[in-house]
């Protein structure tokens, strides 16, 4: 039984975990980098300790420092969140050595699922269907891979063995372009995970990405909490998730859910985890990988099942039985999550950095926002571009879409460009409304321009707005030139001038 939890993460997920701890009466310890001194998780936690400079390698990835802080502060449990140290078996093992509860699976489960090659081999043994690809595990050379590629067939995917989040992943259409792509995939994997190993997998075309949330306790109970549809992606980064998937009926849900449970059991899994599947046009499904941690998009499952997944994680880590049996899990209504990223959708989704100078969060019925930023906070280039998750719930998918549309329009963030307009355009897209999309939809059949035709009345409003702003600015500069004609006191004028140029 632990009483004080160190959260080895930052941003919205650190805040999310602190909230669950608070509700359960557990004390919280935050850790932070120099760039995050004023971050929300630092302000919300009971205790906070500096890790080091801004780059992750010198802060949030410093397992040694984090364990030292845990010891010093008397934290007897660590929640790793997602990313950073969440799927590092050595870190989980070190926690155990120090008598600290790692809120997550056993190191052996992380290892078994963390290496994508081994994971495939393990679940194949358990009778779980996988996408055809390289069966061999370990350090395959470029020569090996180039030789095997034609037997798998093109198009195929190069994937990082240690990978996740689309990093180190490349799509290959022909053998000719493969050497270059291998080099760049290895380079990206090396820089993201410190491991340049890659493997090959057949590219399932027209596929959907659908995942199952599972939970397992140390008494050996394993349940699933239904699926999440995650096909709306760009460069293999999820942008929007929804639950349930409109592609899946009760029968398929039950089948996939039981395979998900079987996959978790194959690695003797404990705590919350996610089994990712590819589902092809004919509703054949293949195991893709298991994420042995809390997932970014867990809130949509919470919205439709009513289960507080983080609270359950804490309960399971304390050695208690889960609060639910499979029969008690009912999906009600429909939830959608939009990932709000500091990226400019009108400029090739370029990352955008800066200080948030204005922020209004959407609220109202059925709306939840998980975020770690606030007015005055600086978005730095050191971490993930995701600044908030906007989650809505509705009785039906249609109501959820309408609600999301309303919430997106309410959301105001100034200081960085965000992808909110992307989500707005998506909500208006007929294909999205009709549930007709696969993992290629955003990249191949979606455009910020063509999704809705320009309304001439809107163009006129835009013209008026811009002209009024330009005019206001002209007037101001004219004011500055005509110094003697000032109608206010010099002090007032200086004050205004400084504000204007700040």
């Amino acid at each position: 039984m632990f009483n004080k939890v160190l959260i080895a993460n930052r941003g919205e997920i650190a805040v999310r975990i602190i909230r669950a701890c608070r509700e359960l009466g557990l004390e919280t310890v935050a850790v932070f980098s120099e760039a995050d001194r004023s971050a929300l998780h630092v302000r919300y936690a009971d205790e906070a300790y500096l890790l080091g400079p801004a780059p992750s390698r010198e802060s949030y990835l410093r397992a040694d420092k984090i364990l030292e802080i845990a010891r010093k502060s008397g934290a007897d449990a660590i929640h790793p969140g997602y990313g950073f140290l969440a799927e590092r078996e050595d870190f989980a093992a070190k926690c155990a050595d120090m008598g600290i509860t790692f809120i997550g699976p056993k190191p052996s489960s992380i290892a078994a699922m963390g290496d994508k090659g081994k994971a495939r081999a393990t679940v194949i043994k358990a009778g779980v269907p996988v996408v055809p690809g390289t069966e061999d595990v370990g350090n395959m050379t470029n020569d090996d891979l180039l030789r095997i590629a034609p037997t798998i067939g093109f198009p195929l995917l190069i994937k990082a063995t240690a990978g996740g989040g689309g990093k180190g992943m490349r799509e290959v259409r022909s053998i000719e372009e493969m050497p270059t792509l291998l080099a760049s995939a290895r380079r990206e994997a090396e820089s993201a995970f410190g491991d340049g190993n890659v493997y090959l997998e057949k590219l399932v075309e027209g596929a959907r990405h659908i995942e199952f949330q599972i939970m397992a306790d140390s008494q050996g109970n394993v349940i699933h909490l239904g699926e999440r549809e995650c096909s709306i992606q760009r460069r293999h980064q999820k942008l929007l998730e929804e639950s349930p998937s409109s592609f899946i009926d009760d029968e398929l849900r039950e089948k996939m859910g039981s395979v998900a449970v079987k996959s978790a059991q194959a690695v003797d899994y404990v705590n919350a985890g996610t089994i990712e599947f590819l589902v092809d046009k004919d509703r054949n499904f293949y195991f893709l990988e298991m994420n042995t941690r809390l997932q970014v998009e867990h809130p949509i499952t919470e919205m439709v099942t009513g289960v507080d997944i983080v609270a359950e994680q804490l309960r399971i880590a304390r050695g208690r039985q889960m609060s639910y049996t499979q029969e008690q899990i009912q999906m009600k209504g429909h939830a959608i999550e939009c990932r709000v990223n500091a990226e400019d959708p009108f400029n090739g989704f370029m990352p955008s950095t800066g200080r948030i100078t204005h922020s209004i969060l959407p609220t109202g019925p059925g709306v939840r926002v998980d975020t770690g930023v606030y007015l005055g906070f600086e978005i730095t280039p050191f971490y993930d571009p995701m600044i908030a998750k906007l989650i809505v719930w509705g009785e039906t998918r249609a109501q959820a879409i309408l609600r999301m549309r309303r919430a997106l329009e309410e959301y105001r963030i100034v200081g960085v460009r965000t992808n909110i307009p992307f989500h707005q355009t998506l909500m208006d897209s007929h294909r999205f409304m009709g549930g007709q999309f696969d993992t290629r939809f955003v990249e191949e059949r979606f455009s910020m321009e063509t999704a809705s035709e320009t309304d001439p009345a809107q163009a006129e409003i835009a013209a008026i707005l811009a002209t009024l702003v330009a005019h206001q600015q002209n007037e101001r500069s004219a004011h500055i030139v005509r110094r003697n004609e000032r109608d206010t006191s010099n002090w007032k004028w200086v004050g205004r001038w400084e504000r204007m140029h700040r």
Partner: protein, 165 residues
């Protein structure tokens, strides 16, 4: 003051009559226009209809973000427009291209060297920011001029990294 404002090739003649009135073509409209907290968020009540929008000033154009749509807006006052018409068009083609960092980040590798010929679309440099590697490509054929950055170097947004003749 009169302005000629262009949105997506469509021209609007807008006259600012006084603080509360504008004229578009023949129509006289009542406006109530405010910045929201001094931010680039603006609130406009136009003949009773309420709009809220982001208005950003770009290098040359303005960008208006309205209900999830972005409009590129060009604004000229009448005087500017006449001057331009008198001077004639004739923007010079080619010239030097400076590759500037589109965002702050870390130069992962520089794939070209000074004096090297490149073709349009060729990757010149890889910049890492927010954990993603971004390939920066040549916008046209040309010869690399000065290379100002090395792999491993951090760059600020808009910092010139290399030039292309």
């Amino acid at each position: 003051m009169r302005y000629v404002t262009t949105v997506d090739d469509k021209e609007f003649e807008i006259e600012i009559v006084d603080d509360h009135h504008i004229r578009i073509g023949e129509r006289l409209l009542t406006v109530d226009f405010e910045t929201v907290g001094g931010q680039p968020v603006f609130s406009l009540i136009l003949d009773g209809k309420s709009y809220e929008s982001f208005v950003y000033q770009g290098d040359e154009d303005w960008e208006v973000l309205l209900r999830g749509r972005q409009f590129q807006v060009k604004i000229e006052d009448e005087r500017e427009k006449r001057l331009k018409a008198a001077a004639g068009g004739g923007v010079s083609e080619g010239g030097e291209f400076h590759l500037k960092a589109p965002m702050p980040g870390l130069v992962v590798s520089v794939l070209v060297e000074e004096g090297q010929s490149v073709t349009k679309g060729q990757v010149m440099l890889i910049l890492e920011s927010m954990k993603m590697q971004n390939e920066l490509k040549a916008p046209r054929d040309g010869v690399i001029g000065r290379v100002r950055v090395k792999a491993g170097e951090s760059v600020e947004q808009k910092q010139a990294m290399l030039s292309l003749h």
